[in-house]
Structures are given as structure tokens and as C-alpha cells.
Point group: C2
Chain length 394, copies 2
């Protein structure tokens, strides 16, 4: 009795659900401390102290009707003004509150912008490997996700192939840097070239192509690597941001879209995104957490904890013979599977109580994703398993 | 450059936006205390004290990673178990946590269930007058909203016409009691007849027809009127609930769906609703407020404040010559426009600084909706304007 679209989803997702059940089963047998679950991107680092302080400050001192009440569907004006000012201060941009739409996390924001832009059969291009939900988000509005295959040498986007996939139906391109699942940060050079191609193709086809930059990991970058602000490279850029990882608040569903005035038809895009927020049933981003994040725009999670995990895992895996690009951001490592069949490798890893996700789920077979947002102990205790795995496969 | 569907929305909504701007303009000229804004269903009564206590208790004593983190897309198991137990206790039902899916308010819940059920061109029946967003929610999934015209004698649903509108394409029926905009509560008798018709038509067409009961106003009922629990009348019932009004938390976007085991194909409906929550970009209902509402299931807002407004407004309007069914629930009064053209009446009311919404917006021309979730002072001070209005029109 469920819709045809959902029947497919239920069929496919039962495989993933079976994996989770397996994890639970293993924990019950071996104890949760002996199961090494690297499958989920759930932050392991506490929210910064400022979050708790902000909640207490607001709840104790502000008017309850206004902190929990309706506001403009795009969010509180003062919160949006604070966010715009903060971005301007950090990146030298010139946004104001009208360019900011508060969203129910990045997932909510991407749905709002796809609802705003896509007609049936419009194409959205992305680069493998990518967060698999993009496919569902685009399909929700009857668009088509077009995938550019991975450049496994650097995991920077494959721009030569990209050129060949742009056509008159291309409505948007979605990028994600720091990247899930590779941890790669798109360089200035990459963004300059990407923007050049887009401008050229806009001219060639007489169309507008929106570049959507999905940035939930912007704040998680190591070794002082710079994560360029994408609106500076290309006028038709829309940013999707989330506080899920930067403040370790993934369950609270709080983020925002930036729709610059430079975007083609910006007034209508902004008005439509406001309405899409309402009619998709979000109505508005959660009100208390709008006010909380506005007080925490300079707060930082303990990045050093993730960095310690990254260093230990990266150097250990390399010393065992694994191959991997050192991630510069996010909390994922995308490791070459020692055997061609990444799904089989994940099965073998599970026999060692190690849970990782096959690259196939990110449209890049032959790799596995390790989410290292776990305790340092978990990393340390999993290492003998990783070592034994590759030795047995040699 | 925005999608065709959104172009229509932007065109239509700009009329409403113009109304809001007008309200702001009036406030600037005459002072906010001299403008009587009855246009919005934003609770005017504070959340009960238990809400603040619950927030402080959780934030001060529970683990920050788990209160702000990801959980099952359907919500925390313990929260869902508490809600199921509370419903069972109040209504003698037999739900468990698997029947409960936490949602981003009622708007989020309705989108989840329509995404779950509707194929393109499936029909969803509702009864005028109704909350206009239903049309957008159904259209989001390419369904068709079929409207049964109003029974203006009682504003109970027009069941004779209803029978004639059910066909093989009818996938769902959506009802809303206590009702926005009339304040009417559907009686036991109404629900018994409605259920009989649905069962008969299911048999006639060999189909399943889901009855979706949208219940954000369940807790707002006056004069000890009973709001029947709809799952008891008809097996294929799904409940959409929200804490927005019962706890005065509309900005926090927290509610739930109840999908009983008795529903046809319930296992798949539940699984699909879980996935729909994820892929629509909600991901999960806001985490802190899931935990907050679980601690406030017996908390109540100050209903007497709304009741006082209701009594004053109802008796005053009647004494001036207005016609209106006395609302038994919610915080709306649906008053017959003294002139046929309800939009023109709203324009005239605005000249007296009274902002009300035309019944046309609820697919029931000739009436106006007054949202009396305002201060008692606002009601009192608006009365001379209402009196003058009808006198000038006589």
C-alpha cells in the first residue's frame, strides 16, 4: 500500500538495516567495547561549553513565548543578521539577513533548495564518491542525479569528465568539501577551474547553472588547511551549512542556506526557498537552537580529539600496507580495499568486529569509508584487527 | 529560474505577504497596541512551567553527546515508548514504541505520511473549511486534494457529499478536529458514520483508504467536551499529533505520527515513514525537544486564558449581530461575514486596524477566521471596531 517510490527505498534500506542489526548482535555477544563501529558520522566530541551556557542563558532570561514561538519561515531576523555578519567577518563577503535562510540541518536545506530549483528531469551533477542521500534528495523533486566518476589519484573532482556531462538540462552542481567520504578539501585551484567551466557552459547553453556547496564539515579542517569560501569563485553559488558537526549538534537539526544577491533571479530564489521551507513541512528551523547557534558562532569543538584519531589511524593503516589519501578535513578516511570487492572486504572486517561502509555506497567501489569520530580507545583497540585483515588477504 | 511549481506559490503568497506588510505598516502608524492582529495561530499562552524545568533538568544532568546526537530516524526509543504508554493510558489503546514516529511538528508528520503513501494522481479527500497547507502537502507528492464542500449548518463534515467523492483513486482522507478554522470538534456520531462509509467504500472498490487525523489542537477543548480518539473507530487510521499548541512550542517543531498495527501493510508503512523522515531531510525530530516533551506528557497550558477570550469574543460578536457557531476547541472562531464578499470584509476590517483571514483561504467563502490566541486586552480593545463594522454594513 505504500507508494512505488517508497517501495524501492524500503527494499534497499533493509540491507543497511540488516548491517545495523548485525552490529547490535555483535555487541551483545562480544561486549560493546569489543565491537569497533566506524560506520556512522555521529560526532564523538562534546558540544563546546558555549552551547550549554547559551541554552541556560536563553531559557532562564528570555521570554518563553518568543523563544519557542513561530517566527518568519526563514528564521529570526536577528539570528540571520548575526550569521551574515559572522560570515562577512570570516570571509570578507557582504551578506545581510535576507541572504540567510535558517534550515532544519543541511539535509533540510538541500531539500529546500532542490524544491526551489528543480523541474522534473532537470539534471544535478555531483562527483563520486559522494554522500548517497543526494540521490534521494534530487529524486524527491523528480530531478536526475548525474555522477562524474571518481578521480582516485587525488579525490579532487574529475573536471575533464565533468565538462562532458554538462548539457542544457543541467540545473545545478553539488559539491561537498571537506568531503564525505574522502576527507579531501577542494583547493583554490580546483574551484577556479570548476567556476571557469561553469561560466563557459552557461554561455554555451544560454542557461543558468547553480553551484550548491554542501558544507557541514567546513569547521573540521586539520593542519591549518584553508577551506575556500565558494561564493567568491562563482556568482551562481548557494551554500548549505549545518551546525551538526561544527557544534556537535546533529540531532538538533539546525543549519542555514546562503543565497547571495549575485545569484541569478535571487529575489525569487529567496522568496521560493522561504515558501519551500513552509510547504515541505519544516515550517521553520527549530526556534531555541536558532537562538543558541547565534550565540555560538565562534565556538569550536575539540578538533584535536579528531586529529589525534586521524593521525593514529592513518599512520597505523599505512604501516600495515593499506593505501589512503591523508584526509585534510571532516572525520572520514577513504581507504583502498585490499581486495577489489569492497562489500566482501566489509564482510570480512565484520568478522573481526570492525564495522565500516563499502565505497559502493558512495558510488566508488573498491574503497571503504572509516568514520573516525569514535573514541581514541576504539581506534587503538581496532588496530590489531585491521592489521590481521590485510595480512590474511596478502 | 525557480521551478514551475514554486513560481505559482511565489505568485500566490505575495498577496498574503502584502497583508503582513500591511499589518506592520499599521502598527508603525497607530502603535502595536492599537492594531488587532487576529490573523495568526501563534499561541499567546506561555508554555507550562514543566517545559522549562525539563530543559534545565536534561541540559544540566544528561550527557551532551546523547541529548544533541543522532538517534534512530524515528526518534529515541524511550521517548516513543513513553508517548505510546501515555496514549494508552489516556485512551485505552495498545500502542508500543514501534507505532510512534517522532516528527518535525504536524507539518513534518503530514509530509512524511503523504510521501509514504501517495503515488502521482492519488486522491486525498478533505472537508471544507480546512487548513490551506493540505493542498501544498498533497501536491508535494503529485497527489490531488479533493474538497468536500462545507456543511455550514454545523461545520461537521458533509458526509453525503463525501460518499460521492470517494472512488478507486482515493488513497486517503484527512480530517482535523478540533478544527482549524471552525473550532468544531467532530462528534462520536460523525466518526462512526465516517468510518462506516470508509469501510463500505473500501469493500466496494477493493482498495485501502487511510484516514489521517491531524490533531494539533487535541488538548485545546472547552466545556469538558470529549475529543474522540480516532483509531478506535476505523482500523486504517493514522494520527498526526503536534506539541505546538498543547505545550505552546510551535517554533520547536516537535510532534509524532501514530501508525497502529491494525493499519493495512503497517510494517511497510512504518518502515517507509522512517525512511521518508530521513530522505525528506528532516533526518529526525529535534533531539532535545524529543526528550523535553517526554517529560511533559501530562503538562497543560493555561486553557482558561483561551477560554476567557473565547467567551468574551463570542458573546460580544453575537450581541452585535454577527453569526457564528460557538467553537468547542482550538483557538479559532469562524464567523459569517456580514457581507457576501469575505475578502472585501477583511479589507474593511483592516480599515479599523482589525486583521482577520478570509474564509476563502480555507476554501469556504463568506466567512472569516478570527484567531483569538491573543491577549485579553487585544480582544477587549478590538470590540468597538467589530461593532462599528457590522453597524456600518447594515
Amino acid at each position: 500500500m505504500i507508494s512505488e517510490k517508497m517501495q524501492e527505498h524500503v527494499k534497499n534500506s533493509s540491507i543497511i538495516r540488516a548491517m545495523f542489526e548485525e552490529g547490535k548482535r555483535l555487541s551483545a555477544i562480544y561486549g560493546v567495547e569489543n565491537v569497533f563501529d566506524f560506520s556512522l558520522g555521529n560526532p564523538s566530541v562534546e558540544p563546546p561549553q558555549e552551547v550549554k551556557e547559551a541554552i541556560l542563558e536563553i531559557v532562564n532570561h528570555e521570554n518563553a513565548i518568543s523563544i519557542h514561538g513561530y517566527m518568519n519561515n526563514s528564521g529570526y531576523e536577528d539570528v540571520r543578521a548575526s550569521i551574515a555578519a559572522s560570515i562577512n567577518h570570516k570571509f570578507g563577503t557582504a551578506f545581510n539577513q535576507n541572504n540567510i535562510i535558517m534550515t532544519v540541518g543541511a539535509g533540510g536545506g538541500l531539500n529546500v533548495i532542490f524544491k526551489t530549483l528543480l523541474n522534473p528531469r532537470d539534471e544535478v551533477i555531483t562527483f563520486a564518491p559522494f554522500f548517497g542521500e543526494y540521490k534521494s534528495y534530487v529524486k524527491n523533486y523528480d530531478g536526475e542525479l548525474v555522477v562524474v566518476s571518481a578521480n582516485t589519484a587525488t579525490f579532487q573532482p574529475n573536471l575533464e569528465e565533468f565538462k562532458t556531462k554538462i548539457n542544457a538540462q543541467t540545473k545545478a552542481v553539488i559539491i561537498n568539501s571537506p568531503n564525505n567520504p574522502t576527507g579531501v578539501v577542494y583547493s583554490n585551484e580546483t574551484l577556479i577551474k570548476l567556476a571557469d567551466i561553469l561560466r563557459e557552459k552557461q554561455k554555451e547553453f544560454g542557461t543558468d547553472i547553480y553551484l550548491i556547496s554542501d558544507e557541514p564539515y567546513r569547521e573540521l579542517a586539520y593542519d591549518r588547511v584553508e577551506v575556500p569560501y565558494v561564493t567568491k569563485f562563482y556568482a551562481n553559488t548557494i551554500i548549505g551549512y549545518s551546525f551538526s558537526k561544527s557544534l556537535s549538534l546533529p540531532g538538533e537539526r539546525i543549519g542555514y542556506l546562503v543565497i547571495p544577491d549575485e545569484v541569478t533571479d535571487s529575489e525569487n530564489v529567496i522568496a521560493a526557498a522561504n515558501i519551500a521551507t513552509r510547504i515541505l513541512g519544516f515550517v521553520n528551523a527549530p526556534s531555541l537552537f536558532q537562538r543558541v547557534v547565534a550565540k555560538c558562532l565562534d565556538a569550536k569543538v575539540n578538533l584535536e580529539a579528531y586529529n589525534k584519531n586521524r593521525e593514529l589511524l592513518y599512520h597505523s593503516l599505512l604501516s600495515y600496507g593499506y593505501e589512503c589519501i591523508k584526509p585534510e578535513g571532516a572525520f572520514y578516511m577513504f581507504v583502498k580495499s585490499p581486495i577489489e570487492d569492497d562489500i566482501e572486504f566489509c564482510r570480512l572486517a565484520k568478522e573481526k568486529n570492525i564495522l565500516v561502509v563499502p565505497g559502493t555506497s558512495f558510488f566508488c567501489p573498491g574503497y571503504i569509508r572509516i568514520a573516525y569520530c569514535v573514541s581514541y580507545e576504539t581506534i587503538k583497540n581496532s588496530l590489531p584487527g585491521f592489521k590481521a585483515l590485510i595480512e590474511e588477504l596478502k
